[in-house]
Amino acid sequence: MAIVAQSSKTRRIRRATLAWIVGLLFFYPIFWLVLTSFKTDADAVKPEHLLFFTPTLENYLNMTENYDYWRFATNSIITSVFATIFALAVGIPCAYAMAFNPSRATKDVLMWMLSTKMLPAAAVLYPMTFLTKSLGLFDTHFMIIVVLMLINLPIVIWMLFTYFKEIPKEIIEAGQMDGVNTWGEIKEILIPLAWGGIASTALLCFIFCWNEAYWTVRLTTTDAATLSKLIEGNRAPEGLFFGRLSAVSAAAVGPIVVLGWFCQKQLVQGLTFGAVK
C-alpha cells in the first residue's frame, strides 16, 4: 500500500511539474516582450544581453515621442468604452425581453443574431469604406464606436440572455404586481440582480473592442486610429527598435491581459454562446 501511495505521489509531482512547464512556456512570449521592453534598442538584439542587462525605462518614457502612444491609447479607450456602453444599452432591454417574455421566434432571432457575427468582415470591406467615406464618417470615433458595438452586440446579447435566464421569473413578476413599469423593473430589479453577469459581459466586450484589428485598421487613418493601427503601422522594423517596439506593444496589451485574467471564466460562456457549461 505504501508503495502505491509513493508512486502516485511521484506521478502527482511529475504532473504538476509538467503543468507548470506548459504554463510558463505559453506565457514566455509575453514575458519576453515585457523583458525586451526594458532593454535599450542596442541591447535588445545582442545575445550576450539576453537575460543580463541594465534595465532602462527609457522606452516607456519616450513612448509618447517615438510613437505618439497616448493619442492612440486615448482613441482605443474612447472607442472601446463607448462601444461597450452602447452595446449594453441596446443589449440589456433586448436580452431582458427575450429571457422573461420569450416568444416562439426568440430562438430564431437569437440564432439569426449569431449568424451576423459569422459574416466575414472582408466581404463587406469596400461597401463599408464607401459608405463611411460618403457619409463623411471615415476616420471618426463615431464610426468606429458604431462598428465595434455592432460586431460585439450578438455576443453581448447572448451572454446577457444566459445570465438573465438564471434569474427566477417570479422575482420580475412580483415587481409587475407592485405596479413597477418596465423601465423600473430593469433598473430596480434586473440590473442589481444580474450585476455580476452584466459586469463580466461588459469587461469581455471591452476586451474584444480593444483587440479588434480589422475595421479599426481599415476605417481609420489618424484621427480615430487605435492601438491596433499603431502596431500594424510599425510592423516590420527588421531588428531596429526592438526595445521601443516592445515597450509600446507591452503598453498596448498589458492592461487588457490583466483585465482578461478577471473574466477568463466568462469567456467560455461568451464565446460558446452558453453551449458549454
Binding site: 505559453f26 443589449g91 430562438k107 459569422m118 472582408a122 469596400y126 452586440l153 483587440n211 500594424e232 491581459v257
Partner: protein, 312 residues
C-alpha cells in the same frame, strides 16, 4: 401598451441595428459584384463610379475564378485554418487533461495559460515574427547561433573534435518566404487560441461523471483506456464547438497575414479581397461573395449544433 408588443419594442433596436448592419453592406457587395467598378481606370472613366449601366453579369465571378491567386488563397485559407484547428484541439485536450486535477499553483498556471488569448492580434504578429521567429535577431536566430558556436567549440576540442567535425552548421529558417510565413501564422495563432480550447475543455471536464471513472478504475481500466472511452467521448461536443468557432474566426484571419506576409505571396481570402479592393471593386466584391458562401457552409453546422442545446 399590451403585453405582447412591449417585448418586441424592447428587442427592436438591437434587431433593427443588426439588420441594417447585415443587409446594407452585403446588398452593396452583391450589387458591386455584378458591375464593372474599377477605381483607377484612365481608359474607361465611367467604370470608376458604381452604376447599373456598367452591368457585367457574372463577369467578375468568372474573372475571380480564373485568377490564379484565388484558388491559391482558398487553398491557403483552408490549410492555415485546418492546421490551426488540428494543433489547438490536440494541444487543448492534452493540456486540459493535464491541469484538470488539482495541484499546487493551479490557479496561477491557469492565468499564465490564458494570457495569450488576450493579446491583440497585431502585437501577437509583431512579437512572434520579429522577436521570436526572426532568423538572425529573434530567439530562433539566437538559439541557432548558440548551437553553432557550441558545435564549433566542440570541433576544436581535443579527442571528440574529429567526431563533431562531421556535424553540419544549422541553418535558421526564414519565416518571411511564402510558404514558411504561412507556418509562422499557424504558430502564432495556435499560441493564441490553444488557451481558448484549454479553457473550454477544462470547463467541460469539470462536469465529467466522476463515479463512472471510479467504477472504471475498479474494473481495472488504465488511464489511457479511461481517457479513450470516457473522457474523449465526453469532450466530443466541446471539441466540435471549438472547431466551429475557431473556423469562423480564422477564415477571416487578417492582421497576422497582413503583418507577417505583406507582399510575399502568402495570402488568404480576406487578404486577397483587400488586395482587389485597392482597385478592382467588382472583383473584390465577387471574392467577398465567395467568402460569404464559404463562411455560411461552416456557420450552418455551428448553428445546428448550438441550436440543439440552446433552450435546454
Amino acid at each position: 401598451m399590451t403585453n405582447r408588443s412591449l417585448p418586441r419594442l424592447l428587442q427592436s433596436p438591437a434587431v433593427i441595428l443588426l439588420l441594417i448592419w447585415m443587409l446594407i453592406p452585403l446588398g452593396m457587395t452583391l450589387y458591386f459584384s455584378f458591375i464593372r467598378y474599377v477605381l483607377n481606370s484612365l481608359r474607361r472613366p465611367e467604370w470608376t463610379q458604381p452604376s447599373l449601366s456598367n452591368w457585367r453579369g457574372f463577369g467578375n465571378y468568372e474573372f475571380v475564378l480564373n485568377n490564379k491567386d484565388f484558388l491559391f488563397a482558398i487553398q491557403n485559407s483552408l490549410f492555415i485554418v485546418c492546421s490551426i484547428l488540428f494543433l489547438t484541439v490536440m494541444l487543448g485536450v492534452m493540456i486540459a487533461v493535464l491541469i484538470n486535477k488539482a495541484f499546487p499553483g493551479r490557479g496561477i498556471v491557469r492565468v499564465l495559460l490564458i494570457s495569450p488569448f488576450f493579446v491583440m492580434p497585431a502585437v501577437n504578429a509583431v512579437l512572434w515574427i520579429n522577436m521570436i521567429l526572426d532568423p538572425v535577431l529573434g530567439l530562433q536566430g539566437l538559439a541557432v547561433a548558440g548551437i553553432n558556436t557550441l558545435i564549433d567549440g566542440l570541433q576544436t576540442a581535443p579527442i571528440v573534435g574529429s567526431f563533431f567535425s562531421l556535424w553540419p552548421e544549422i541553418e535558421p529558417i526564414s519565416f518571411r518566404a511564402t510558404q514558411t510565413s504561412a507556418y509562422a501564422v499557424i504558430i502564432m495563432v495556435t499560441w493564441q487560441w490553444t488557451p481558448f480550447a484549454v479553457l473550454i475543455f477544462m470547463t467541460s471536464l469539470q462536469s465529467e461523471d466522476q463515479q463512472q471513472k471510479e467504477a472504471a478504475t475498479l474494473d481495472g481500466a488504465g488511464p489511457w483506456s479511461q481517457f479513450r472511452f470516457l473522457t474523449l467521448p465526453h469532450l466530443a461536443r466541446p471539441i466540435a464547438i471549438v472547431v466551429m468557432i475557431q473556423a469562423i474566426f480564422h477564415l477571416s484571419l487578417y492582421a497576422e497575414i497582413e503583418i507577417v506576409s505583406r507582399g510575399n505571396g502568402n495570402k488568404n481570402l480576406p487578404y486577397l479581397i483587400g488586395e482587389f479592393a485597392n482597385n478592382n471593386i467588382g472583383a473584390a466584391s465577387a471574392t467577398g461573395i465567395f467568402a460569404v458562401i464559404l463562411a455560411n457552409i461552416v456557420a450552418i453546422f455551428l448553428l445546428r449544433m448550438i441550436g440543439k442545446t440552446l433552450m435546454e
